[in-house]
Subunit: 129 residues, 2 copies
Amino acid sequence: MYTIREASTMTGFSLDTLRYYEKMGLIHPTLRKSGGVRMYSADHVHHMMSIKCLKQSGLSLEDIKEFIADGQCFRNKEALDDEELKLIQSRMSILSAQLDRLEEQRQALDKTISEARTKLDYYEQLMHS
Amino acid sequence: MYTIREASTMTGFSLDTLRYYEKMGLIHPTLRKSGGVRMYSADHVHHMMSIKCLKQSGLSLEDIKEFIADGQCFRNKEALDDEELKLIQSRMSILSAQLDRLEEQRQALDKTISEARTKLDYYEQLMHS
DNA sequence: TCTTGACTTGGAGTCAGCTCCAGCGTTTAC
DNA sequence: GTAAACGCTGGAGCTGACTCCAAGTCAAGA
């Protein structure tokens, strides 16, 4: 188990940011020591790392919340009832919309990276001429 | 030549955003009609499209400003004086720092995309079982 | 027991990036 | 000649994502 400070140094998020993410519903520290002190498990830290990755790929906190909102559900089921079917369909449409946006973003990013390389090459050549 | 409204519909930026980008130093409409009305050339619109792409790849306006701050310089020069050398070196270090960040971001993005696909596949399977 | 240090909360402040608005100036159509 | 449509400016307001702060709780050490 880790304190918020340890989690902070492990993940690179500030103390305030971790508490903020909790308030926003991205992280749920289950245990509290006396005095209400938060304790995080290794799983929590792992989860934070995922959030870090999602953030770095440019998703908003709202998007991240949607993205990670399905850890538990529907495992080992034989049949699905109407409720579950609707839930899955809604999750799928959210996810595929996100996927579309991410792929567009990837195209833009690739273009930007190759442009940056071109510029750098140009300067490189200029220096050694 | 295009009015700001035409440029807006062509690029998808709002009127206010285009004016804001001008104030921030990202766009420089050279001509003004009487009454101070902005006129944009095809080149301007093209430039806006570049900005759009840079934005979509996740750069901040400040980053974009740095990224595009070299359209003109140092073409067809045989020798470079000290001033120019320093300028080029500073541009190179900015660009390569940006490139590093962009490549990190690309890795994160790839990971996120493949995770999204995995999730979608999982739901897909669930539906057809 | 008292102090020190790490943690808590709620709320205010900050910054980027817009977005909206009031009040004004042109141009165009009737 | 006047009303509608479009544009201008300066400044206020808004959202997202933090960041900072004051006042309080708790545990451990001198």
